[in-house]
């Protein structure tokens, strides 16, 4: 039983990690708390849903489409809107992205209505039984894809010129500028990458959970948790944070009771913030 509980936590944790990584990346480089994040998840999920329900495209094949569309959208959003307040106090970026989130959610509500939808392909309920352990294929696959996406991002940051420029900008903006990096461009690319990878996470989520316009809010809360636990701007930390959240939820629900689930999560988040704002590895940013 304990093994199964841990396994559930890990499987779900992989997806959690993938949507928190984008949040962490954007905070780490741009120093903004991106409230639109939840809507990126929602848009990714809807892209997968529509491709699946209209064209019958396998949900996993829609991942690149989600990434590409949100990459472009994120780039434009940063370049033309968010960039204008990048130097302003944090409150302003919180408010701005919050306003954007209101706009996106409600447009989605007009276009797609409040209906709950499922991406439910043939193989959705299949599972692998290992003795008493049950591993739903779809959760295993989404977890693996989520980890691949995070790994890809990490590879990109470490082994490409643009990636290195992003890292340099996050560490020292003025220094990067002196070396010929254009921060505005780097910011836009970072934001686009963050949006793209978050959309992939949204697509993956849609295979296990319901899809509806207001779905982003709760995932945004989870992102806060993961990123605070992992350390703001610390990508491997976000990965670990995701697993911690998944396992914690699973453990609490199993051994204490579902009602206390959120209380425990928020308490942990709260205590982390106060005692260790740099995250478990102590590598996160503080102001």
């Amino acid at each position: 039983m304990l093994l199964q509980v841990l396994l559930n936590g890990i499987l779900i944790g992989g997806i959690y990690a993938s949507f928190a990584v984008g949040f962490s990346l954007i905070f780490g480089v741009l120093r903004i708390v991106n409230i639109v994040h939840g809507e990126f998840i929602m848009l990714g999920a809807f892209i997968t849903y529509w491709l699946y329900s209209i064209f019958g495209i396998d949900p996993f094949l829609s991942l690149p489409v989600s990434f590409a569309l949100l990459f472009v959208g994120g780039y434009l959003l940063q370049r033309f809107v968010i960039n204008r307040i990048i130097e302003a106090p944090e409150i302003m970026s919180l408010l701005l992205t919050f306003g954007l989130s209101l706009i996106i959610v409600n447009i989605a509500l007009i276009v797609w209505k409040g209906d709950y939808r499922l991406v439910n392909p043939e193989y959705a309920g299949a599972n692998l039984e290992l003795g008493t352990l049950i591993i739903p294929y779809i959760r295993l696959a989404t977890c693996v894809f989520a980890l691949l996406a995070v790994g890809g991002l990490q590879f990109f940051l470490q082994h490409t010129n643009t990636g290195r420029a992003i890292k340099a900008t996050s560490q020292n903006k003025e220094g990067a500028r002196l070396q010929g990096v254009n921060p505005a461009r780097i910011y836009a690319i970072t934001f686009a990458l963050g949006a793209g990878i978050t959309a992939i996470a949204g697509s993956l989520l849609s295979m296990s959970f319901s899809v509806f316009p207001a779905m982003g809010g709760d995932y945004l809360l989870f992102s806060f948790f993961i990123v605070v636990v992992g350390g703001m701007g610390d990508l491997p930390g976000a990965l670990v944070g995701g697993f911690i959240l998944g396992i914690l939820q699973s453990l609490v629900t199993n051994f204490i009771g579902a009602g206390l689930n959120y209380i425990v999560i928020f308490l942990v988040l709260y205590v982390m913030l106060i005692t260790r704002p740099t995250g478990i590895f102590g590598r996160g940013l503080i102001e």
Binding site: M1, Q4, V5, N8, I12, L109, K113, G114, D115, Y116, R117, L118, N120, A124, G125, N127, E129, I134, P136, I138, R139, S208, F209, S210, F212, A214, D218, Q249, S250, T253, N254, G257, A258, G259, N261, Y262
Partner: protein, 414 residues
Amino acid sequence: MNVFTFRGKRFCTALLILLLSMALSVTVYARDTFVFGSAIALTGKFAREGASLKKAYDFWAQQVNAQGGIEVAGKQYPVEIKYYDDKSDPRTTTKLVEKLITRDKVDLIFGPFSSGCVGPSSTITEKYKVPMIEAAGNARSLFKRGFKYLFCTLRPADELADPYMRLLVKQTPKPKTVAIIAPKSPFYLSAASGFETYAKKYGLDIVHYETYPVAMEDITPILQKIKAKDPDVLCVGSHTVVAMMVMKQSKEIDFNPKAYCFSFGTLGSEFPKELGDDANYILEYISISEGSPFEDPLFGTTKEFIGHFKEAYQSRPDSTQAAAVAGGIAFTRAIQNAGVIPPFDEAKRTKVRNELAKLDIVTAAGPVRFDATGINEANPLGIYQYQNRVPVCVEPDAWLEAKFIYPAPKWGDR
């Protein structure tokens, strides 16, 4: 300073005139239609449920108007329903209900969606002595407050579980154990406590009872826990998304109770559309079925009523929709019994209220008789089961459309 006081005076006078003219302009003109009002969730967390409730009110109004209106003392008065969107927010419901009563001067009120919104807004209808019939807030606590103007055409939430258990204990092998889960919100909790009461009453053993936060979507951990206890029956205080997630996640972890009971939300068109074959074998209660022996002059037999409703909205009326239509008919009959014509004043509304309290009628959407607290005690209850993606009535025997399939096949054998 002199200048200012002068200006202030003029400003005050202007304001006074404005306010007075506003007060005077809200006089009630004679009209020969009945105007009903409803503040109902068209956006927000209950947008879906609110919209389906509105469909039912509209369905009733269209049918009444198609026949020329409500006939009182030889004259027909068409009906009109004035809607406002309460955004699923009880604060807004109270504001809009008061607006409907004091500004729009509606004659009677149809209720909002969910107990959370019925609770505060019913104190307003009570204050203004405007009868409200609602079909979406049947938590007992709402009817323990001694209100005189609040009526609910649903059976009390805690009684709804009766038909499920009644049906289940008739099966062989007889189920022995039940697990009950529900999100923590009045609507689901009262359903869950009903499941608990009736499971005990019919001698079933409750092996698991758990409520969880509404926001929690990944309920696999809970289901896993329940799976380990291997209950015969899973009962869920639900609405659409809860029911969808329970089915999807049960399949993922290969959890196979012999019966899935949902309190609400599976009869709309979304549930079978999104789940496909995975929707099969689940149960939801209903107060009418095509086989129900009810009829009324407005809709004809229950079978005809359901047929028309399906034509209009591509789905069977679920329990709240049926109750909403029954509520419309209850208003009609109370108005006719009281013999009052629009527009209503307090005396006329009181008459209607007294007639409602005495009402004992049968409608195509189910019988209506309010008990002393204002909640419908007459509705018989039945059960639908999804078979081949279509809900069919499996209880009571008199309404039977198909044989109840029990136990539900395991996921692997479907």
